[in-house]
């Protein structure tokens, strides 16, 4: 009798483990998962695999397996550490500026005033501009020969002759950060505005009756309610800043000297200029892990009591 019961043991075990809905879900999700495997999971694993080899396209036939050498070499490389430092400066400056400006703009847009709608629309414009177009625009603004910034400062008599802004080692990274901030503020503003709009007006009324000043109301009602929005902005913008490439590529190519030689630029140079795919892949892995670790820290610290 027993041998007739388990004709298809595998199938019945599947049935036991998953209900009808789960099983149909698997079937419907399978095509998408397959595509995702091909375009995302495979490249991720393949680049991990590559990072264990010494691959130089100038020596296509000699690609020895070097285990973790690419990683250890990396940490001994002075330029790598320079690029890490540049990335940290760029990210910290950009993300703080984005957070502060977006906070102020969202507070402004949350007020009722006459041209609020028009202003909201205008403020969204940079968001709609692609990164490359944004970079080209700022290249023109900062241009030393016919740039808008030079023109403006000159006509206002702040400078007596045109300057090579991006040629200044000490300022380049901040000027690039400025261009990045300009592009990122709209989205950050929207994210914060959403949490502002969700605050019930009764809370402010209660706080007023409780004797809270404008500042106390901001600290005790507004800020706590914005915490989830802030968390999102910090994580998202940090990730964007750490990995940002377009502005460095178009404005300075890492220069002058190594003044804007950030990690993403370092990876690009290593991979596509030195044609060293193995160590490029290794660096990309480091960058990915750092990004992941940072967002984890953010969620743990900021997100604790959200």
């Amino acid at each position: 009798m027993t041998d007739t019961v388990n004709i298809q043991p595998g199938r019945s075990r599947l049935r036991a483990a998953f209900g009808y809905e789960e099983r149909s879900a698997m079937i419907f999700l399978a095509p998408v998962m397959l595509v995702l495997m091909l375009v995302a999971v495979f490249p991720i694993l393949y680049s991990l695999y590559l990072s264990f080899f010494r691959i130089k396209l100038t020596r296509p036939n000699r690609t020895p397996f070097v285990w973790l050498d690419n990683y250890t070499d990396l940490f001994g490389n002075e330029l790598f550490w320079t690029s890490v430092a540049r990335t940290v400066v760029f990210s910290v400056v950009s993300v703080s500026a984005i957070a502060v400006i977006a906070l102020l703009v969202s507070l402004l847009l949350n007020q009722d005033f006459r041209f609020r709608r028009v202003l909201s629309t205008i403020i969204l414009v940079p968001w709609a501009i692609p990164y490359v177009a944004n970079a080209l625009m700022w290249k023109w603004i900062y241009d030393s020969g016919y740039g808008a910034l030079n023109g403006l400062l000159f006509q206002l008599d702040f400078i007596s002759r045109y300057m090579v802004f991006l040629g200044d080692q000490n300022k380049t990274i901040y000027l690039i950060a400025n261009a990045f901030v300009w592009k990122e503020v709209p989205l950050a503003t929207i994210l914060l505005l959403v949490s502002l709009k969700a605050i019930p007006s009764d809370l402010y009324a209660a706080a007023r009756v409780d004797g809270a000043t404008v500042w106390s109301r901001f600290v005790h009602v507004t800020l706590p309610a914005m915490k989830p929005g802030f968390l999102l902005v910090m994580i998202y913008e940090t990730m964007m800043a750490i990995r940002h490439f377009d502005l460095f590529f178009i404005l300075t190519e890492g220069g002058p000297g190594d003044a804007s030689h950030v990690l993403s630029w370092h990876i690009y140079v290593e991979t596509f200029r030195n044609l060293s795919f193995g160590s490029g892949a290794a660096m990309s892995y480091v960058l990915a892990l750092v990004t992941f670790a940072l967002s984890y820290i953010f969620i743990r610290t900021l997100g604790r009591r959200v």
């Binding site: 009324a205 007023r208 009756v209 004797g211 809270a212 106390s216 005790h220 706590p224």
Partner: protein, 365 residues
Amino acid sequence: MARIRFNNVEKKYANGFHAVQNLTLDIQDKEFLVLLGPSGCGKSTTLNMIAGLEDVSGGALLFDDELVNYTPPHKRDVAMVFQSYALYPHKSVFDNIAFGLQMRKVDRAEIDKRVREAAEKLEITHLLDRRPSQLSGGQRQRVALGRAMVREPSVFLMDEPLSNLDAALRISMRAEIKELHQSMQTTFVYVTHDQAEALTLADRIVVMKDGVVKQVGTPDDIYERPENTFVASFLGSPPINYIDGTLKFAGGGAQFLHEALALDLPEAITAKLSGQDGRKVRLGIRAEDVDEAAAGGPGATIHGKVNSVLPVGSDQFLGFDFYGNELFFRVGKDLAHKVGDDVSLSVDLNRLHLFDKDSGASLLW
């Protein structure tokens, strides 16, 4: 000590809407005053003006004879309980209750003492470390009350504080609020659209409609002696019944006449109607002011055909179709009636209400 006076107060919102019109009202110290009225009549607006959350657009608002039109909320010594409770979501229950004291720089030991006292009174001591999101509706309500209590304000404002609770809890909280008023010995202004709440809690009720006060009086005044049809209709369940007819004086007495109904008005009522012979009036009979058992005389009986029977637990409501008027009466539930039965009910003549047919103003009060 707080006596609140409205002198011809107006409220116009920025969009031009006239939410409160010419409000003149005197709220006594330690009084429990209830603002009652349908949705949108301006109750919250009035309360918010007392709190200082809304500006007064015209007239004078006085606390103890001192003009407070331009005094900000925190200088008015008022505490408020909101319909939504408005608890600070990220603060613990303790900090929610303590916040008003912290803002007033009361010292820590004192805050701690007052918060714990209030929590004990409200039986929420075990919840002090929780956050509002971890509380039930009834518990949140208590926290909101606690937050107002610890301030020991001279005016206690509440905007429909019970409307988000279930029916049983609402009734037990009514009793607690009444107790709270007795123990706090301060002025309470309480907004509700629930007549039962108003009748139970109030020392005096203000009935409002479309921004205008329709009557001010004790619960007894409001229920027994409504000054107009709006107030008469707003209180009572099922609502008061109206029959239009004329007054006729004959012999020493007066009668209410309708094509199928003649009621002999008692002396007490007739006395107030001199010179009103032939006047078109609207008769009001409260649903409970009839009796089936007692045999009324010919001048005290209403006949009709039952067209609905609605049992409501303790009693039942009988619906009549009476010459185009839909009447509802409350009778004992042991009376077995079916739809289609002819029924005679004797009317309690001393409790009749008479209103002017056109203006709706009472002819009696």
